[in-house]
């Protein structure tokens, strides 16, 4: 723009200069002609004037030149006379412009006196006429157009040149700058490996070099830092591994050694109890009691610790199954009701028919710990245990207490090992602070998280989630798998003894075992009774010495004849006479010795009735005598 303005300005200036030149030329020409015409006009030499004018017009390129007399009448005209102005007596301006014509006027004065012409000597210098010159500025316009054209041409040439240079410069410089900016941006984005590729010379080069150096320094610093972080992390990891390994090793050791660790303590407890009974001295007895309670505390602590290690060592296997909750709740009630009663608390277990899918042993331990904890931290009121049905398959065991509650800032910490509320002196009567830590681990194993809500001063509620089971698939409190049941139902044992007192006692014992006993003093009597009942004995027990000289061997033979040779049978005897023993041995029947002890009888029965086979012939003590 500036360039265009400048060009315009210069063009304008040169046009002005041309105009001035034209003006000056016109003036000069007019003045010169006026002087040259002075004498000729004075003498009226028209021809000469005409010739001079023609010459002048041709040389100077004027449109027309005219010489007029004092009155304004044209004496001589050269060129286009029409272009000459009409001269009044006294024309006002000496030079003026009319359209594209320039008009110059000059007064022609009489010749000066120094002329040697005698006519002139007397006449003073006075105006005798006019010279008029008309110049056409067409040439000027032409010149102006030329100048403008030239300027424009030069301008455009310059512009194109400048544009070209600018484009070239900008394309080179811009590319560089863009590259630089991109590099800086990449560095800012964290790519410290970014570099300006081609480094130029000059200021840009300095900048590019600076950027590259900066990036390199940054990269080195970062590499250094990363290395240090890597080293530190590796160190930490190593330490963590070592610590974890140590903890695991400890847990594994404790879990493995728990059997051996517990033994001396068990022995100690028993020995202290035995010792206490032999001490008659009051003071010594008091000391023994202290030792006893210390041992007990130690045992509790050790048990809790070992439980914890077994859990941490992953030595506890989870065996989930579907089972009814009622049995579990009843057991818990049996176990904790005395503990609650001792503190004057009421333990209420809400009955339910729900069944749960979980590990029965672990679940019972969790709930046991929660209930024990609830009782421990409740001073009045009670503890309620119940099950809540959740959405879909979910269910929730809840243990509510009206105890002290857990302040909010402790609620997260109560599951930590050894954390206890209100027990800065670590009074062992308040427990060891391991219960909830065990609960948390167990619940982790069962994948049913423990939750706690508590209002300090009002009470707490601990709950664990579990998976519900369909109830109909489960047997109703299975009787068949009842452990400790001696014989299959409907098993009947025949017992023959000549002493009614013994029959009576035996009947009572068998009643307590829930085994039907067919008793009698004679084999025939028992056999008849059994036939009446249409039953056969699963086992025959028979006293060796019966009434009227008959023996148990005979009785057994009789019963076996009627009910089957396969029926197991045993003789009972209090005899130690060699002949009797010889007879018994010859019969090949197993023998039990009087006094018959319930435990022993039960041991044999459980073997015989469960095995459904022949009683151990020659086995065990039966053959000992």
């Amino acid at each position: 723009m500036g360039v265009i303005l400048a060009a315009g300005y210069f063009a304008h200036r040169s046009v002005q200069e041309t105009e001035q030149n034209l003006f000056r030329r016109g003036q000069d020409m007019t003045q010169r002609l006026a002087q040259a015409m002075s004498y000729e006009l004075f003498v009226g030499n028209t021809l000469y004037m005409k010739r001079l004018l023609d010459y002048e017009r041709t040389v100077q390129g004027a449109l027309s030149i005219g010489v007029a007399d004092g009155r304004g009448r044209w004496e001589a005209i050269s060129g286009d006379g029409g272009a000459l102005p009409v001269l009044g007596y006294k024309p006002e301006s000496r030079a003026r412009r009319e359209g594209h014509l320039w008009l110059f006027l000059e007064e022609v004065r009489s010749p000066t006196a120094d002329s040697d012409d005698p006519y002139l000597a007397t006449s003073p210098e006075q105006s005798i006429g006019w010279v008029a010159v008309v110049l056409d500025d067409t040439s000027l316009h032409q010149a102006r157009a030329e100048i403008v054209l030239a300027s424009a041409g030069i301008m455009s040439l310059l512009l194109v040149l400048a544009g070209g240079i600018a484009w070239r410069l900008s394309s080179r410089l811009g590319g560089r700058l863009r590259g630089l900016a991109q590099t800086v941006e990449r560095i800012a984005d964290g790519d410290l490996g970014a570099r300006v590729r081609e480094v130029a010379t000059g200021e840009l080069g300095v900048l590019e070099n600076g950027v590259n150096r900066m990036a390199q320094t940054l990269e080195e610093n970062r590499r250094d830092l990363e290395q240090r972080i890597r080293d530190a992390t590796a160190g930490l990891r190593q330490q963590t591994h070592a610590a974890e390994a140590a903890v695991l090793a400890k847990s594994k050791f404790l879990a493995a050694a728990s059997h051996d660790l517990r033994q001396p303590l068990h022995a100690m407890t028993l020995l202290i109890a035995a010792m206490k009974e032999r001490i008659s001295d009051v003071e010594a007895r008091r000391l023994a009691e202290h030792v006893e309670s210390s041992a007990e505390a130690m045992q509790n602590l050790l048990n809790a610790l070992l439980d914890l290690s077994r859990l941490d060592a992953g030595a506890v296997a989870v065996k989930p199954e579907c089972f009814r909750v009622s049995g579990l709740l009843r057991r818990l009630e049996h176990r904790f009701a005395p503990m609650a009663a001792e503190k004057g608390l009421h333990l209420r277990v809400v009955p339910t028919r729900m069944a749960v899918h979980s590990d029965p042993v672990l679940l019972e331990r969790i709930l046991g710990n929660l209930i024990a904890n609830a009782i421990r931290y409740t001073d009045r009121g009670g503890v309620v245990v119940g099950v809540r049905r959740g959405q879909a398959e979910a269910m929730r065991f809840e243990v509510w207490d009206s105890g002290r509650g857990v302040p909010e800032h402790f609620q997260k910490r109560i599951f930590e090992e050894y954390f206890q509320l209100d027990n800065p002196e670590r009074d062992r009567d308040k427990g060891l602070g391991l219960g909830l830590a065990i609960v948390e681990r167990l619940s982790g194993l069962l994948d049913c998280p423990v939750k706690m809500r508590s209002i300090p001063g009002r009470g707490s509620c601990f709950s664990i989630c579990a998976q519900r089971c369909a109830e109909d698939g489960l047997a109703q409190e299975t009787e068949a798998t009842q452990p400790g049941r001696l014989a299959p139902e409907n098993a009947m044992v025949a017992f023959i003894d000549d002493d009614e007192g013994i029959l009576e006692a035996m009947l009572e014992l068998f009643d307590s075992w829930q085994i039907d006993l067919a008793v009698g003093t004679e084999a025939e009597e028992v056999a008849a009774d059994l036939r009446d009942m249409r039953r056969e004995p699963a086992l025959i027990l028979c006293d060796y010495r019966l009434r009227e000289g008959r023996t148990g061997i005979d009785a057994i033979r009789l019963l076996r004849e009627q009910f089957g040779e396969h029926i197991p049978a045993m003789l009972i005897t209090g005899d130690t006479a060699p002949e009797t023993l010889k007879c018994i041995q010859e019969s090949g029947l197993p023998v039990l010795h009087k006094p018959l002890k319930p435990a022993k009888l039960r041991a044999i029965l459980s073997y015989t009735l469960a095995g459904e086979g022949q009683a151990p012939e020659g086995g065990g003590e039966a053959a000992a005598d």
């Binding site: 728990s258 059997h259 517990r262 068990h266 022995a267 100690m268 407890t269 028993l270 020995l271 109890a273 035995a274 009974e277 048990n303 065996k319 049995g327 057991r331 049996h334 176990r335 029965p360 042993v361 452990p483 400790g484 009614e500 029959l503 009576e504 006692a505 009947l507 009572e508 014992l509 009643d511 307590s512 039907d516 006993l517 067919a518 008793v519 009597e525 028992v526 009774d529 009446d532 009942m533 010795h593 006094p595 018959l596 002890k597 319930p598 435990a599 022993k600 009888l601 039960r602 041991a603 044999i604 459980s606 073997y607 015989t608 151990p616 086995g619 065990g620 003590e621 039966a622 000992a624």
Partner: protein, 211 residues
């Protein structure tokens, strides 16, 4: 009384001996420290009254050891002693005919009570399993003459009060007539009566009748 005490921890054996002596001051205690020696000691000893066996002893995996021991000596009442409670194990052991399962952490009173229960014909289980083993709770006494009526005897007396004969009672209780006769004898003795009429009067006084 002869008792086998099998445990690989000498200290524990020492600890439990006083308890066994309380059971019977003159108890003969035979010690063993692993399964092989327990089998051998039992074989040589005659008439063992009780075998107290540690489940985890060298020589055999615990449960299998007990099963084999029971098979070898079916007349010996076995009480298993263990340092830990494993429900699966307990059920298997009871199936094998063990008469008790004692936890080593039990106090001497509990151990003593448990052994007495077993000797009287009961089965002892840890409290957590006691419920399932129910029905043996009245078995705290030695075999002998009772002085109070048992459940069964009350059942019999109730039917007597309804005027049923021994045969009818036997049929309804699904036992033999001879058995009812013996029940009657026990009832007469305990109620200190001499015949059915007197027993019937006592029964009516007690408010016993069927349904």
């Amino acid at each position: 009384m002869k008792i086998l005490l099998a445990d690989d921890h000498p200290l524990f054996r020492e600890g439990i001996k006083p308890v066994l002596r309380k059971l019977d001051t003159h108890a003969e205690i035979i010690e063993a420290r692993d399964y092989p020696s327990a089998f051998e000691a039992t074989h040589h000893a005659r008439e063992l009254d009780l075998a107290l066996i540690d489940l985890c002893m060298p020589g055999m995996p615990g449960v299998e050891g007990i099963i084999r021991y029971r098979a070898a000596f079916p007349a010996v009442p076995v009480v298993v002693v263990s340092a830990s409670e494993q429900l699966d194990d307990i059920l298997k052991l009871l199936g094998a005919g063990a008469l008790g399962y004692l936890c080593k952490s039990a106090s001497s009173e509990v151990i003593l009570g448990a052994l007495r229960l077993v000797l009287a014909g009961g089965v002892y289980l840890p409290p957590s399993l006691l419920e399932e083993a129910g029905g043996d709770e009245g078995l705290g006494k030695e075999l002998g003459r009772n002085t109070t009526l048992t459940q069964r005897q009350i059942q019999v007396l109730r039917q007597l009060a309804d005027g049923k004969t021994n045969k009818q009672i036997a049929t309804s209780l699904k036992v033999t007539e001879g058995t009812i006769k013996i029940h009657m004898a026990a009832i007469f003795r305990i109620l200190k009566v001499n015949n059915r009429t007197e027993a019937l009067l006592v029964a009516q006084k007690m408010g016993l009748h069927s349904s």
